[in-house]
């Protein structure tokens, strides 16, 4: 398909869906409510939305969907750090019931016992999985959960009168960047530590950075390199020794479920990316769901409202005095919470351990295959096993051929595979990060490695094929320079038409007319 922008498809007068009419009885009682709007409140020109029949809207979006590569369709091991695993269809089917979709969060809790039980149970199961005492499922994604981590840490220190004193947060360069960003947003100064030459987190550097000014360490483990910090207990102890808290980013928990737990290493607070580790679909970039798990000491600071059990009933309690309050509306991303509950229930303890073990088996198997490709390498910890992912490098291939990792990623899309290229900061040169999770079969991992090997061959033997990719996509090599220039960027269709054609400079009529013109033409 070469599907137009939807505005180009507009035909005046077509309707996609109709709204229920105002009843005559209502009309008689209220009169012309639109005409009666006060001056300035009645919209002067209708919004220039496109006008399309229902089937054309559907067709448009179905075609767009076919121009998209969902995890269900490809061997999605290339989105390292993202834990692209199978999101079971049964869970999508189970949550589609009106018993959940048509439930309002302020209904009588007696009418919401099912969903409240699921929230409560999921919290308890995650408490067991993390070893922590209390869990909240309020946050809407991994970064939001990181925010909640630092917000609770901030509230904790304030409650202890140390808010003004503890102004620093320490993280590592291979922890997710949101740890640094969220700490900054919470008002902290951020200290970022680099690994030792072997790629292991540097305990000496940590000790040097810690001080009574430290509010917390915020670290991922295993880090985005797939390397597990064997001194993690020492890290936590060192933080505690200066009165700081230890916050564990468990975005990379997929390889350690049932193997080792955050609390057992002494952490005070941790989070999971439910949409990664617990099998909810990624939704083209959300909604996700975060879980914040804390020790008893931090429990009063959890977001609210809380679901609690009283005998056989589940009740809703507003958050307490010290809570950081609402981090979002109501109870969190409920469809994902129910999916995660179902996912854990489908696997159980033995299953979660099989998830972890298979994820690391798959990762180490894929690493074996990738390292057989000339030009690919896995910096750091040479010869050692990794947990659930590896940050690789094409540096050798780049030096030999001039082909970049980004170009290889684009070319991979021609084979129905891909990897994402956001590996800021570029500490590893020409990076690519593969995380096979537990969801892919050996044959699929072989297939993925074979694609990379083929592209590496092309890079040597026919580099132009790689450089001019993509060749089999709907769109062709795209010029991204426009996107950084405020004079030329076009973030919406109306802005595009205004900037490039001078249409509809203000108000809505412009692009609508334009769309009509195109149809008439």
């Amino acid at each position: 398909w070469d599907e137009p922008i939807i505005f180009e498809l507009s035909t005046p007068g077509e309707r996609g869906v109709l709204v229920t009419p105002v009843e005559p009885g209502v009309r008689a009682a209220v009169g012309d409510v639109v005409g009666d709007l006060p001056d300035g409140l009645r919209r002067s020109a209708p919004p220039a939305l496109p006008e399309l029949g229902q089937m054309r809207v559907l067709k448009h979006y179905l075609r767009l969907s076919q121009e998209n590569l969902g995890a269900d369709l490809n061997v999605d091991v290339g989105q390292g750090t993202c834990t692209m695993k199978y999101a079971p269809k049964v869970n999508d089917q189970l949550i589609a019931t009106p018993d959940l979709t048509a439930l309002h969060p302020l209904q009588d809790p007696d009418d919401a016992q099912g969903v409240l039980e699921i929230i409560w149970q999921t919290e308890r199961m995650l408490a067991e999985i993390s070893g922590m005492d209390r869990v909240s499922l309020h946050t809407q994604g991994g970064s939001a959960a990181i925010w909640a981590n630092i917000a609770m840490i901030r509230a904790f220190h304030e409650a202890n009168g140390e808010g003004a004193q503890r102004r620093e947060v320490i993280t590592t360069i291979f922890s997710h960047p949101s740890n640094a960003a969220a700490a900054k947003a919470a008002g902290y100064e951020v200290i970022t530590l680099h690994p030792d030459p072997d790629g292991y987190p540097d305990l000496a550097a940590l000790r040097a950075a810690l001080s009574p000014r430290t509010a917390a360490i915020m670290v991922t483990n295993p880090e985005d390199t797939g390397i597990y910090n064997p001194a993690i207990t020492e890290w936590v102890d060192a933080a505690h020794a200066v009165g700081a808290l230890a916050s564990y980013d468990q975005a990379n928990a997929n390889g350690i479920l049932g193997i080792t737990r955050a609390r057992d290493a002494g952490f005070d607070v941790c989070h999971f990316n439910i949409h990664k580790t617990f099998g909810t679909p990624h939704g083209s970039g959300g909604p996700g769901t975060g879980a914040n798990a804390v020790s008893e000491a931090l429990a009063p600071f959890l977001p609210g409202p809380r679901v609690e059990r009283e005998g056989d009933r589940f009740v809703v309690r507003e958050a307490g005095e010290r809570s950081i309050g609402s981090v979002g509306p109501f109870f969190g991303v409920v469809p994902n919470i129910v999916r995660a509950y179902a996912w854990i229930m489908a696997l159980g303890a033995e299953g979660l351990r099989a998830v972890a073990e298979t994820a690391v088996l798959n990762n180490n198997y894929l690493m074996t295959k990738v390292l057989e490709i000339p030009g690919a390498s896995a910096p750091y910890a040479t010869g050692r096993r990794r947990i659930e992912q590896v940050r690789y490098s094409w540096q050798e291939l780049f030096e030999e051929t001039g082909i970049t990792s980004e170009e290889i990623g684009v070319r991979a899309s021609d084979f129905g595979m891909h990897y994402w290229t956001s590996h800021h900061p570029y500490v590893v040169p020409q990076p690519f990060t593969l995380e096979p999770t537990e969801s892919y079969s050996m044959a699929e991992l072989d297939e993925y490695a074979a694609v990379l090997a083929e592209i590496a061959r092309e890079a040597r033997e026919e580099p132009e094929t790689v450089r001019s990719a993509p060749h089999r996509q709907t769109v062709h090599h795209t010029h991204h320079d426009d996107l950084d220039d405020p004079e030329r960027w076009a973030i919406t269709w109306r802005a595009y038409r205004r900037k490039y054609f001078g249409a509809g400079a203000v108000g809505g009529a412009g692009s609508g007319d334009a769309a009509a013109d195109e149809v008439a033409a």
């Binding site: 018993d99 970064s143 083209s284």
Partner: protein
């Protein structure tokens, strides 16, 4: 469960495969991969979790039975809003976002994920038409976050700390916003008059240390702000930013804030094609004019059109990617991560289906039903409207003169299968109607409330209290302890 453990979700639990893979990597067992995990940290026992339901049929039966304990708004007549709304979701919306290609994609590049880029660019563009603004972000988490970020943007742009809160704000939203911005901004509350902004009072408190004036329209009580342009002019006069929090549902008929001077318009898209989901399906939008000063402060992704090697072809990509925390870590603007893209696609499909006429018709139905419900309830002796403002979808009634508490009305009507609304104060009830609430539904509510009033009159005579002060304040304090605008926690 099978022996050995083989699971449909984990293909390589098949014993032969597992053995072959271990052999290929030269490992005797998976234990080798955990060499870096100290022995002391190993759990050493199975997790203590409920017995699993590995057969899909057993899982389905279990979860279905649990959810069947819920009694949804299909079965109860609901007048609940307060942040989550019961609007109709066209089937095509669910069809599109249920497509595996959208549902399970994530962070692919513009080539293999062309469809996702286009769908979200279109979402931005459709919202932009509705809001009459040139820039809209890929959705952030929800309206709470969008508002918190919008105010933070104003703070960063102006380098100032004071924010004047000119409207009544949903308590939970205020809770989020306050905790989010308190390091950087000080919220100051300017009491509303008759449910909308006290323009004179706001103007009086404006100064060149004010970063933003924050208006909510419709407000917490559903009141539509009528004097936005005056607020904008006053704010702009001192170099402050006008941030308008809103629900876009009414802009088929109402003038969008951008045409009344708003600089940043933000809010939630749940009303645009998302089910109620027990409050679990929200997405936040932030809209600004096409002004780099604003755009460069936005932390979210922005998808833009780009040319390709093929003349006339549209490609897509990230606008000003280097703004984001992906690129800059703590030097970026707040952060960006997995947020609410799928809901953005849904809202785009919704607006494409509705079109200009659909949004106009919807706006009219909402205004008409709101007015009808207001009239019918206020016609009950002892029941009064909370204020005289124009309302969209939500409004309050005051039950003081009927000698009824809001809580007692809720309890009594729940027993009749009706959720009449959300108590805001001792005698104040927030009632919500949508296009899903028919005249007959409203009449049923009115009859039920009328019945209670009759009975209350019989039971107690009429214990008159001042219906606009005591009840309201007590109630607010009761419900919103942590968010009343009395103490401004400040961070040194």
């Amino acid at each position: 469960m099978t022996e050995p453990f083989v699971h449909p979700y984990i293909p390589n639990t098949a014993p032969e495969t597992r053995a072959a893979m271990l052999a290929a990597v030269g490992a005797a067992s998976v234990d080798e991969f955990y060499a870096d995990v100290p022995e002391a940290l190993r759990l050493g026992r199975p997790l203590d979790l409920p017995e699993p339901l590995v057969a899909e049929q057993d899982l389905a039966r279990h979860v279905t039975a649990l959810l069947a304990k819920n009694v949804s708004t299909h079965e109860k007549l609901s007048f609940l809003g307060a942040g989550t709304y019961h609007h109709y979701v066209p089937a095509v919306v669910d069809e599109v976002i249920g497509r595996s290609e959208f549902l399970t994609a994530y962070a692919g590049e513009p080539y293999e994920d062309h469809g996702r880029f286009q769908a979200l660019f279109q979402y931005q563009s459709l919202m932009a038409e509705l809001l009459a603004m040139d820039v809209v972000n890929v959705p952030t988490y929800d309206g709470f976050q969008a508002t918190a970020t919008s105010l933070s943007m104003a703070g960063r742009m102006t380098g100032r700390r004071r924010v004047l809160v000119a409207s009544d704000v949903l308590p939970a939203k205020l809770s989020k916003v306050r905790d989010y911005v308190r390091v950087h901004l000080d919220l100051e509350f300017v009491a509303t008059v008759d449910a909308t902004a006290d323009v004179a009072a706001v103007a009086a408190r404006l100064g060149d240390d004010v970063a933003a004036v924050w208006v909510e329209t419709p407000s917490r009580t559903g009141a539509v702000e009528a004097r936005l342009q005056e607020l904008a002019d006053a704010a702009h006069a001192v170099g402050a930013v006008l941030v308008v929090g809103t629900d876009p549902i009414g802009y088929g008929v109402l003038t969008p804030p951008a045409e009344q001077g708003a600089d940043i318009v933000c809010g939630d898209i749940q009303s645009l094609g998302l089910h109620q989901w027990f409050g679990g399906a929200h997405g936040g939008f932030i809209a600004v004019h096409d002004d780099a000063r604003f755009v460069m402060e936005m932390p979210s992704r922005l998808f833009g059109l780009a040319t390709t090697d093929v003349p006339g072809e549209f490609g897509f990509g990230d606008v000003a990617y280097d703004r984001t925390s992906f690129a800059l870590r703590e030097e970026g603007k707040e952060w960006v991560g997995t947020a609410a893209a799928l809901w953005g696609i849904a809202a785009g499909v919704y607006l494409a289906l509705m079109g200009p006429q659909g949004m106009r018709d919807l706006g009219e139905v909402l205004l008409a039903r709101t007015r009808y419900a207001q009239q019918a309830l206020a016609a009950i002796p002892g029941v009064a409207l909370g204020d005289g403002a124009l309302h969209l979808r939500e409004f309050t009634i005051d039950l003081s003169d009927a000698a009824l508490t809001a809580g007692s009305v809720v309890a009594a009507l729940r027993a009749q299968g009706i959720e009449p609304g959300v108590p805001l104060g001792e005698h104040e009830l927030l009632v919500c109607v949508t296009e899903m609430t028919s005249q007959r539904d409203i009449d049923r509510l009115v009859a039920a409330v009328g019945g209670l009033v009759d009975r209350a009159g019989l039971d107690s005579g009429s214990a008159l209290v001042d219906r606009r002060t005591a009840g309201l304040d007590t109630g607010s304090a009761l419900l919103d302890r942590r968010t009343t605008p009395t103490s401004q926690e400040q961070y040194a």
